[in-house]
């Protein structure tokens, strides 16, 4: 059983980088869930809308990349806020399955809207960086991935600070823990929900732009959002750190499974399926994920 060290190392590096991206999207998902108890099946569509918005600004208005990027972020923040106020607020208190269905309905709606506005074919992003790839430990990595990894780490640090030390962050954690008590202490739950959605939309847009720069923007970009689920389950649904760890683990797992598959097993499909097998295994051993809080049932 020979081990091809260079290939393995390259795959590990690739796994970490792509995993950071999964971690970013997983973080947004957990943010919404933690703050407003909503499972957002439309996370992929947030990425898609962000990608298309940035592309549109770049191509139609010929703005420089950073300007378009920042405008896209601002737009997505507003978009998330408005969406929460209009659609999700009436559903506070409804059973979780209804809320899941609403987000599914939203994803159908936005998919069709994006196809109408931007067409059904894949569109390439104009070249953004002077050097398209850099060499990292023997692996050629796209510059945009390096940028996204750095931004992801920055965002994770920002989130960590936000939730631990800022008023709003504490307010969010309090609301996630117990809505009624938070309300009774004067925290505006409405604001917390709206803000959670806004931030989540904004950060998803970042991930969407990155994927768009690499692969071109197309309606199928939203399928990236499906990978989020194994990541958040691995990490635990109510843990932001867990989401990041879950994302990175999934990225690594995919690549390692692919390595095992291509070298020894030759089944063919492990790259896509391994995360889901892992998900089931983790759930058998730790039903609440690696970092999720265990539900203590009081009678």
């Amino acid at each position: 059983m020979t081990v091809d060290a260079t290939l393995l190392l390259q795959l590990v590096v690739n796994g970490l980088i792509v995993g950071a991206l999964y971690g970013v999207v997983a973080m947004c998902f957990v943010l919404i869930y933690k703050a407003s108890q909503v499972v957002n099946f439309a996370q992929g569509e947030f990425m898609l809308i962000g990608a298309w918005a940035c592309w549109w600004l770049l191509v139609k208005f010929q703005l420089p990349f950073f300007a378009s990027f920042l405008i896209t972020l601002a737009f997505m923040m507003a978009f998330g806020l408005i969406l929460q106020v209009i659609v999700l607020k009436p559903l506070i208190g409804e059973p979780i399955i209804s809320v899941i269905m609403v987000t599914i309905g939203l994803s159908i709606f936005f998919q069709a809207l994006m196809k109408w506005m931007f067409g059904v074919s894949a569109q390439p992003f104009p070249p953004i960086f002077a050097t398209p790839d850099v060499n990292l430990l023997g692996l050629q990595v796209k510059t945009v991935y390096v940028m996204s990894t750095m931004i992801s780490i920055g965002i994770m640090g920002g989130f960590a600070w936000f939730f631990k030390y800022s008023r709003m962050g504490l307010a969010m954690r309090a609301t996630a823990f117990d809505q009624q008590v938070a309300q009774s202490l004067g925290i505006s739950v409405r604001q917390v929900f709206a803000l959670a959605w806004g931030i989540s939309a904004m950060v998803s847009a970042l991930a969407g732009v990155v994927v768009g720069v690499v692969n071109g923007v197309s309606p199928a970009l939203s399928f990236f959002g499906i990978k989020v689920f194994p990541a958040v389950i691995l990490g635990g649904l109510d843990s932001i750190v867990g989401a990041v760890v879950g994302g990175v683990v999934i990225g690594l797992l995919e690549n390692l499974a692919h390595y095992a598959d291509s070298q020894w097993l030759r089944w063919g499909n492990l790259y896509e399926i391994a995360p889901f097998y892992a998900l089931i295994l983790i759930l058998m051993i730790r039903p609440n994920g690696l970092f999720g809080t265990k539900d203590i049932e009081r009678v």
């Binding site: 091809d4 290939l7 390259q10 795959l11 690739n14 796994g15 792509v18 191509v59 069709a112 196809k115 067409g119 059904v120 074919s121 894949a122 569109q123 390439p124 104009p126 070249p127 398209p132 790839d133 692996l139 050629q140 990595v141 796209k142 994927v211 690499v214 692969n215 071109g216 197309s218 309606p219 199928a220 970009l221 399928f223 990236f224 995919e254 690549n255 692919h258 390595y259 291509s262 030759r266 063919g268 499909n269 790259y271 896509e272």
Partner: protein, 426 residues
């Protein structure tokens, strides 16, 4: 994608069709048209469906068939099987032929159309549809399924044959290595066994297949494996969206491999989206000419294009031309049927068998000569291979990019496959 009047025109004819009873009156010939303008395969389904719709409108403009106009009901079923079935049930007993689309609808309806004896012209070129008797390799008899173009398997075999010649020409030493890349899904898997078998026959070393999903994503892992395996020729079996991702990932990973595309996996739009990563990809083209070539048949194509684009400026992808060809074959089969017993499903089918090396009138140089027989529905065994040449990853309309020379498709080979009995049906 500029679809201004096209869909309106198609839906308008559909609206009119739905308002008039769809019975085969002395005046109109009812046909069904399934298209995907808004679903998962819309990026290639749009141009193909447009070609079919425009061709039908043009046929009607020229007076129809024997004085009778075609009454086409265009249904956009968004690649969802239940809608295709519902549309078919609406047509069953009324239409005499159907212009279909992809694997989903073709497979779902094959039983029904065989029982109801309605010729089905699909854009799914699966080899299992080519054996009318449904012999050992294909499970089901498909006497009423036709398609214009080489089957996926035959196109793959042609590229394997080209690859063998290319290896010799390049002076390659030893056995060349071939690998199939695609998702574990009927569409990419369709030609896998056939191509790998033929590659072995021609002396290739066939490596284990590499899988990647039908959705765009990051495929660095697969590209690294490809690089490490030392493959020389890699067949990309998926549709354009994910092929673009693979090409880009492999370009970044520094993979030196000759990529072989498939009919739906590489076209002008994919070349634009993938940019320089698509440079040098070899892929089959179903028509003898592309829009910017010079051929006598392109005059007719340009006329047909004006049915939805009066300005005449739109660039029509290769899929559009293929859709027109498919419709023209149906039209000439109907003309034969009209003169030989009346237009019915069975007669149209018989009409498909009367000519050999058949090119529809007016389409010389565009629609390649095709021959269908009652025992062999492989219409085209001659495959044109083109190479994609992409100079810069620019943005802009496809027509401009081609005019500038930033995107080019150059024909590099025409492979004539033998009409082997052993190759029928798989």
């Amino acid at each position: 994608m500029n679809l201004t009047r096209p869909i309106a025109g198609a839906l308008l004819s559909g609206a009119l069709a739905s308002m008039t009873p769809l019975t085969a009156t002395a005046q109109a010939i009812p046909i069904g048209h399934l298209a995907d303008f808004s679903g998962a395969t819309a990026d290639v389904g749009g141009p193909y469906g447009q070609g079919v719709a425009d061709a039908i409108a043009h046929i009607n403009r020229q007076g129809g068939i024997g004085g009778r106009k075609l009454d086409a009901d265009t249904v956009d079923y968004s690649y969802q099987v239940p809608r295709a079935i519902a549309a078919y049930k609406n047509w069953s007993g009324k239409v005499v032929a159907i212009q279909g689309w992809g694997t989903a609808d073709t497979e779902a309806l094959v039983g029904f159309i065989t029982k109801d004896k309605i010729p089905y012209y699909s854009a799914s070129y699966a080899a299992t549809l080519t054996d009318p008797a449904g012999g050992s390799k294909a499970d089901k008899p498909t006497p009423y399924n036709f398609f214009y173009g080489p089957s996926y398997s035959d196109a793959a075999r042609a590229m394997v044959q080209w690859a063998a010649q290319d290896w010799k020409k390049k002076g390659g030493q030893g056995k060349p290595r071939y690998v199939h890349m695609g998702a574990n899904h009927p569409y990419p898997n369709s030609p896998k066994a056939a191509a790998e078998d033929y590659a072995r026959q021609l002396g290739f070393e066939v490596l284990p297949a590499i899988q990647f999903a039908l959705t765009p994503g990051d495929y660095t892992a697969q590209c690294l494996t490809l690089k490490q395996s030392g493959a020389n020729y890699a067949y990309l079996g998926n549709t354009a969206g994910s092929n673009i991702s693979v090409l880009k990932s492999c370009q970044t990973a520094g993979v030196q491999v000759q990529f072989l595309g498939n009919v739906w996996g590489m076209d002008e739009n994919a070349m634009k989206a993938a940019g320089s990563a698509a440079n040098n990809v070899v892929f089959p083209v179903r028509t003898a000419a592309i829009w910017t070539d010079k051929a006598p048949g392109l005059t007719l194509m340009k006329e047909i294009s004006k049915m939805s684009d009066p300005s005449g400026n739109a660039y029509r992808a290769s899929h559009y031309l293929a859709g027109v060809c498919a419709t023209l074959y149906m039209k000439e089969a109907m003309e034969w049927a009209a003169a030989n017993g009346g237009i019915s499903g069975e007669n149209i089918r018989k009409g498909m068998y009367v000519r050999t090396n058949w090119v529809p009138k007016g389409a010389e140089g565009v629609c390649k000569p095709s021959t269908w027989t009652p025992t062999d529905h492989r219409g085209m065994l001659q495959v044109d291979l083109y190479r994609a040449e992409v100079k810069d990853a620019g943005d802009g309309q496809i027509a401009d990019l081609i005019a500038r020379g930033a995107i080019q498709m150059k024909r590099i080979a025409t492979i004539d496959l033998p009409r082997n009995k052993e190759w029928l049906g798989w």
